[in-house]
Amino acid sequence: MKRSLRILLTLGLLVCVAGLGLYVSHDARTPPSPAQRDADAAALHDPARIARGQYLATLGDCAACHTAQGGVRYAGGRSLGTPFGDVPAPNLTPDSDTGLGRWTFEDFWQALHNGRGRQGQLLYPVFSYTSFTKVTRADALAIFAYLKSLPPTKREPSPLGLKFPYNVRSSLLAWRTLYFKPGVFERDTNQSAAWNRGAYLVQGLGHCNECHAPRNALGAMDKHGQLTGGQIPQMHWYAPDLSTRAGGGLEGWNTQDIVDLLKRGQSAKGAAFGPMAEVVHNSTQYMNDADLSAVATYLQALPPRNAHGSPAAHVVASNHASGESIYARQCTQCHGSDGEGVADIYPPLNGNTSVNEPTGINAIRSVLLGGFPPVTTGNPQPYSMPPFARQLTDDEIAAVVSYTRQSWSNRAAAVNPDQVSNLRHAPTD
């Protein structure tokens, strides 16, 4: 107890000192030369750049956070839940009072690249500058040009929902010292152009790690856990590991599977649902073929993973038989008695990453909520799954989910009725 207190105090002191150091060294920013500023301003009106910026803003899925439910696209207002409180996403339209109207490109660059606001204030990392810092200046300029070309929408910012001490912005100094380093994307010359493009999109603009990497108690991404999967904070969904090699969450996915999921919302290996359905619907379905294939190239080069838990630890749930009979009654018709699914219509459950992910959250919620995969140009009228929240009890859902997680080639841990009960009323937004 005493020892841990001492460690904590020492750590706190260290963090303060480091934070102060950073404050002194990083607060002053060098303004761009007048010539550079004029060049940036002129560049904003180039139609080709604006069009490019629209594509890039779509890939970055800026609208997902910066649009309220039913609100004007990019006008902000969506409340982003974090374990530390809610942060409203600001207005990105060029309204001069409530949006980016008075922002210069340099202001925008400081936000995207350095996580600093227009007055130099530190921005909360719910804005994914931890990833966007890798976006190139040219791409940032194009995105800014596009945002500046939008019709201005007035929308007063909602109040910050953070609690003490998180509402004190300077508390971010310590956090940034530990977890954020402004950087640029560095090409790996040993890898192909496609791999590099994929890495840039996945690590930078696409900010995939913001969901697909584990986070620590302070909400920071684990540097060594890139794309290894993690529970999405406050969202009650699990973003799976993205390695396609042995032990990976997407083990066995080929290029076509990855491209299909991102472009059509559904592949031979699974369908997008929950937050990923939104990502496909708003963003990845519009990716061009070269970028899709670059992302696939990069993901397929991720290293193999150590499988979660040893096979010996795998214990078949005692309610396996009752799960089997529920499965036969409710699931076989679409997913098949061997969990094989129906090509292009219903996803297979055998070997499905969302069935097998470590927590069981995704399978439980899919059974509770059902729903449609995203509507995309490639899949304009998708088939759907019934929500079973009203038809099945917690015990029944736990049994059938455990059955699917432990049948055919699936070897995941069973889930229990308490988990189902907890997820029944979890928010869907």
Partner: protein, 262 residues
């Protein structure tokens, strides 16, 4: 290779009959492996999945019924069949925008586009399926009488117009946007009227139902819901055709004159 294509492609002259037979034989041989593959697929554990909206809409029909007939006496699976398509589509859009609140509906509809939602709305609007009588809500006769009065005559003392002044003379709805009120459970009607009162349901303009619901008292909500759910279906349950709504609005309209805004 398609045998009928081969037949069409061949000249009709008798001299070529042999050629046709030969081609057919070749086509049959060429197709044999395909036929075998189809057999394997058919013998797998599930029957062929129909390429229909009914099959696609399982996320809807598990609560609202295969043909949108609704779940009798349920609060959460109201009848969709025969409601105006415009009304159904508008409600889907309201669930998407959050103007109408329901966690399950908001989630299910989130990733659909206007085109697919229109098709689903048309599908359910066009279903012709018999009405079933909801179980009567056990309410005292005086309350039911109050409900009947509100539904058919309204109550001018509290500024509540009769239901049938907007929802059709037989309460079967009016094209394109006003829903019928018959064949719905008392619990659904009550919960929706309360949703209007609690801003869980909203319309852009006009907000008339919000105004009306907020002028009703709790027992009025109970009364009118109980009476409506006890009404037998008419022979013709189709929504009335669109009316010519002209300005100035009729006297009973809560949107005209005083108190037009919520």
């Amino acid at each position: 290779m398609n045998p009928s294509f081969v037949l069409r492609a061949c000249p009709r002259r008798a001299a070529h009959t042999l050629g046709v037979i030969l081609a057919l034989t070749l086509a049959f041989v060429a197709c044999a492996p395909l036929a075998r593959a189809a057999k394997v697929a058919a013998s797998s554990s599930h029957p062929e999945i129909p390429d229909t909206l009914q099959q696609r809409a399982k996320a809807c029909t598990s609560c609202h019924g295969e043909h949108g007939e609704g779940e009798l006496d349920s609060r959460d699976g109201p009848r969709l069949a025969g409601k105006p398509a415009g009304y159904l589509l508008l409600q889907m859009r309201y669930f998407q925008s959050g103007q109408r609140k329901n966690v399950a509906m908001e989630y299910v509809l989130r990733q659909l586009d206007l085109d697919y939602m229109s098709r689903l709305a048309d599908y359910f609007a066009n279903q012709q399926v018999a009405y079933r009588q909801p179980s009567p809500a056990k309410r005292p006769a005086a309350l039911l009488a109050r409900g009947e009065r509100l539904a058919l005559r309204g109550d001018t003392t509290i500024g509540v117009p009769a239901c049938n002044s907007c929802h059709g003379s037989k309460l079967t709805g009016v094209e394109p946007l006003i829903p019928g009120l018959i064949g719905l459970s008392s619990s659904y009607l009550e919960s929706e009227l309360n949703a209007w009162r609690n801003q869980k349901r909203a319309a852009k303009e006009p907000f008339c139902m919000g105004v009306v619901a907020n002028r009703m008292r709790s027992e009025d909500v109970m009364a009118v819901s109980a009476w409506l759910s006890s009404q037998a279906a008419a022979a013709d349950m189709r929504p009335e055709s669109a009316r010519e709504q002209t300005i100035p609005l009729p006297g009973w309209c809560v949107m005209s004159g005083v108190g037009g805004k919520p």
